[in-house]
């Protein structure tokens, strides 16, 4: 709150240019009474009781600019309709991904069922035919492992989408004067070891794993 010292600050800030102005007035009007002008100026300054110092005025200007920036940002966020992202887009995307997992699981189960039938047929055969049939079913069993890997990858994508959803909810809460944003769950102790399948370029293959395991022996 401004007090007497603030008035003095304002006067000292304005004082130097005031002296110059008084000198100019005296030069233009030698007959004029500079003291009268000074009295008018002092009277004006006196009426500024409660007004801001230059520092406070500068700060106020910055706060006003910040307020305008926040208002603009709120308008831009509103224009983006971020509520749609959390209410519609992300749930839809996660539902679609869940459906992919469900469909691939059903398809894989159907393939495995046929494969098991072929294995039973192989049990009744002998020689090369049995061996070739079993070799073929083995390859199919191996290939069906894709469902586990893709399922884990999709789970990672769903988790990433949920994280984005939570962060968007936090931003929306911040800019809509809500006190509480969505809570992002803290990582559990073992979580840094639970990353799921790595991208092929980053993953160790079985031979790398074998070397690492052998290094302990």
């Amino acid at each position: 709150m401004p007090d007497g010292s603030n008035k003095q600050d304002a006067a000292s800030v304005l004082g130097w240019s005031l002296a110059e102005r008084l000198a100019a007035i005296r030069a233009e009007n030698p007959a004029g009474d500079p003291e009268m002008v000074a009295q008018v100026v002092r009277a004006v300054l006196t009426t500024m009781t409660g007004d801001l110092t230059a520092t406070e005025a500068s700060l106020l200007h910055e706060v006003e600019a910040l307020g305008r920036t926040i208002a603009t940002t709120k308008q831009e966020i509103a224009a983006l309709r971020v509520d749609d992202i959390t209410a519609s887009h992300i749930p839809l995307a996660t539902d679609e991904l869940d459906a992919i997992v469900s469909h691939t699981a059903a398809a894989t189960d159907a393939i495995l069922e046929v494969c098991e039938t072929l294995d039973k047929v192989a049990d009744g055969l002998a020689g090369d035919a049995a061996a070739q049939l079993q070799e073929a079913t083995t390859r199919i069993y191996e290939a069906c492992g894709f469902q586990d890997i893709t399922g884990q990858r999709i789970t990672k994508v769903v988790a990433a989408l949920k994280m984005i959803e939570a962060k968007i909810a936090n931003i929306v809460a911040t800019f809509s004067d809500q006190r509480e944003g969505a809570i992002v769950p803290e990582a559990a102790d073992e979580s840094q070891l639970l990353n799921g399948p790595q991208l092929p370029a980053l993953a160790m293959d079985q031979s790398d794993i074998d070397k690492l395991m052998a290094s302990f022996d």
Binding site: A105, L112, D119, E142, D148, E190, M204, M213
Partner: protein
């Protein structure tokens, strides 16, 4: 000397499809006494109630992970020598190190093939 393929094998994975795949691959190499569990807790109950010669477990499961299951197995006087193979998509060095420190017998990274599975089983059972 040959592997006793009549031994009970416990396979643990939260993906039923993967359980089915591993069971069929084991059947093809004549392991027919296979039981299944879908997480570490269920596996531990079955291990404590039965007699298993080999555990093949996934890592990333809830509520008890494969690593926690391994730690429980190694801390149990009756179970601690049971061969334990981890089959997982977790392929980071720190995962292998953590599993080894917990006492894993061998480690297979997904996707895997039947030959790798057979090879690791033979190794942990001491026949390779």
């Amino acid at each position: 000397m040959t592997i006793d393929k009549s031994m009970h094998v416990l396979i643990v994975d939260d993906y039923k499809t993967m359980l089915r795949i591993i069971r069929n691959l084991l059947k093809q190499i004549d392991f027919n006494n296979v039981e299944e569990a879908t997480d570490g807790s269920e596996a531990l109950s079955k291990l404590r109630a039965g007699s298993f010669g080999l555990v093949i477990s996934d890592w990333n499961m809830a509520p008890m992970t494969g690593l926690q299951l391994l730690q429980e197995v190694r801390a149990d006087n009756r179970l601690k020598t049971t061969p334990f193979i981890m089959i997982t998509a977790e392929s980071k060095t720190e995962n292998v190190v953590a599993a080894k420190q917990a006492g894993v017998s061998n480690y297979i990274v997904k996707p895997f093939n039947a030959e790798t599975l057979r090879d690791k089983i033979e190794k942990v059972l001491g026949y390779a």
